[in-house]
Amino acid sequence: MKSPLAKVIIIFIFTLICLYIDLPSSFPIKFNIGNYSVDKTFNRGGLDIQFGRFSFRRSLDLVFGLDLAGGSHLVFEADLSGIKPEEKATALSSLKEVIERRVNFFGVSEPNIQISSFENKSRIIVELPGVSDPKQATSLIGQTAQLVFGEVAPQAEDKGENSQLPFVFTDLTGADLKKASVVFDQTSGRPAVSLEFTDEGAKKFESLTERNVGKMLPIFLDNQIVSAPLVKEKIAGGRAQISGDFTLEEAKKMAIQLNAGALPVPVKLVEERTVGATLGEESIYKSIRAGLVGLFMVVLFMFLSYGWLGLIASLALFIFAAISLAIYKIAPVVLTLPGIAGFLLSVGMAVDSNILIFERFKEERPRRPLREALEVSFGRAWDSIRDANIATLTTAFVLANPFDWGFLHTSGPVRGFAITLALGVALSMFTGIVVSRNLLRVLVREKKQ
């Protein structure tokens, strides 16, 4: 068992580390003391830990959700009525891939795309940070994927090998493709992609391969090349295989992209939420102001009610805030406006464990010496604190929906609230008990008579 003093020193160092993480990534330092003047820019580096295959990289900047950073939250409903039940999952993952490609093409940094299925309805949620006018993005995403096979344009052949190969589209399209799947080549054992055509498609493919033996046969998805295999021979029967030097991942990705054309899924925009950057900035500023005022009131109240004990609780509260912020940066927790509310609420709740203990202490004080009274109060109060907080943690768990259960909400703002609240409650048990207890053990001395 380490002495309380050692623990307080550890807590102190830990808090300093957290405070360092809490600093903004860079800010100017400028001051003058007599003749000595400093004019520098402070830069806090990020985290970059590499250990064998394990790597951990964080920029340690706060990540803001769409409601604070500005951006668009779009929900599309996928119409899967034309898809066979057993192919729905494939069709959905292909749809997601297509949307990802389009969003990347649109040049959005860090888009977030997820599928959410609930009672036979499938939704694609697309989050585009920084996009304040999503009109272009929605019309781009709303298009059904176009898969088309091309061939080398006839006139290009005469110009020699160095000229770029212009391609022309053929009449073989995604509609002629039944499905694509990953297989393993029977001779080489390497991953390959097998194509299966409809009867109509088989005929078209046969004549296409016949004309193009020894040439490339590019396949386009939304006008971008997915693959350009070389035709070895004329292929009849409607089955073909694209083999090459692929990894399993590459083959899977190619099959998904091809299926996007084979199993086209029309989508419809059903929900749009756009927040401009100005409103977000204003919200951040207002929340910080509200938080500081509230915090000041809490500290004042604790001091007026409990005197120096209250000040120690406020110190523990300060450590609580420093650790919370550091966790948000390391995890990272995406901060939304309700998320900030959850944090502020947890600040109000964090002193609860201290209040429980101090009230207990007032009762025990007349019966025992000071130190013993403190220890007994901590011991007794712990049961209540633990029991009482389990309820809040349970509710936060349901709201945060960490396993992405389809029957619960996956809404970002609500999740943000639940996550910061749960983190706050869990952390407050630590700071309320471990931090303030050891601070009190070190700082409290029995008055000598």
Binding site: F118, M297, F301, G348, L356, A388, A391, T394, L408, H409
Partner: protein, 298 residues
């Protein structure tokens, strides 16, 4: 020591009054559901100070062919919140054209939310699931915690008391101040459920601790437990209330009603533990004893 439980029928009357007022509000006005549940458009634009809201409203209704349910001013920066029925892409563009024309250079889109009609029913279902699941877990926890029927049921009745007061107060706020029930409100409701049992558990824990250690008449034990936990319960609520009031007054319009809902939940939760949960427990206990005495005397 204060004899808290002497006034238990006053506490019950206060609760019954609050519940009836709530019931009245719900029956008379219902709840104003937000576009999260009903579908529709909610948008905030900066238009400048001297635009005519009436003109804009009639223009939107005639040219966009959409129902405008309200246009309200927020703050004094010349920004307005619009609540309109769900719009398609063309209607959206028309709406913006009208507003741009009316506002000129001042025009700025702060946020735009458009929820299609198919989303609402799904959200309602998911909300019901969330409430059912969290209440179930809280019930399970209370049952395990107190392994006693009367403790558990009284705690749960107090919890329903708080939720009903919170829900029904929003019919009043909705009618008089335009507060809406959106998904954040549901979040506040679930948080209230847990706050409510949070405080109750602390008082009940104390009653049982005294029962184990000292025994004696149940009412006087309950009175002592109330006296001993009252200050902590009030103090703890004060710190939460400080944070929430700061959020309501300074936190901006987006989060105002969410903070109000949390505040009401906190106040109801703080009130209900000593003044609903404990008196219920005492009344129940008295009945139990009377029945036992009657059986003995036979």
């Amino acid at each position: 020591m204060i004899n808290w439980l002497k006034y238990k029928y006053i506490y019950f009357s206060i609760s019954i009054l609050a519940l009836s007022l709530g019931l009245f509000g719900i029956l008379k006005w219902g709840l104003r559901l937000s576009i999260d549940f009903t579908g529709g458009v909610m948008a905030e634009y900066v238009l400048g100070k001297d635009v005519s809201i009436e003109d804009i409203k009639s223009k939107i209704e005639n040219e966009v062919k959409a129902n405008v349910s309200s246009i309200s001013k927020v703050g004094d920066g010349g920004s307005y919140i619009f609540r309109i029925s769900s719009l398609n892409d063309n209607q959206k563009e028309k709406l913006k054209d009208i507003l741009k024309e009316a506002a000129g250079d001042n025009f700025k889109e702060l946020r735009f939310e458009n929820v299609g009609p198919s989303v609402g029913p799904e959200l309602v279902k998911k909300t019901v699931y969330a409430i059912v699941i969290s209440s179930f877990f809280i019930l399970l926890m209370v049952a395990r915690q107190f392994s006693s029927f009367k403790f558990g049921i009284s705690a749960i009745l107090a919890m329903f008391h708080d939720s009903f007061i919170l829900i029904s107060s929003f019919s009043w706020f909705g009618h008089f101040f335009g507060a809406e029930v959106d998904f954040l409100f549901v979040t506040a409701l679930l948080t209230t459920l847990s706050f409510s049992v949070h405080d109750t558990i602390v008082v009940y824990d104390r009653i049982r601790e005294l029962q184990r250690k000292e025994g004696g008449e149940f009412v006087s034990l309950a009175n002592r437990a109330l006296s001993e936990t009252m200050v902590r319960s009030l103090n703890n609520s004060f710190t939460i209330i400080f944070m929430l009031v700061a959020m309501i007054l300074l936190g901006g319009s987006t989060i105002k009603w969410f903070a109000v809902a949390l505040l009401l939940g906190t106040i109801a939760g703080t009130y209900s533990s000593p003044f609903v949960a404990v008196p219920l427990l005492v009344v129940w206990n008295n009945w139990e004893e009377k029945i036992r005495l009657r059986k003995l005397s036979r």
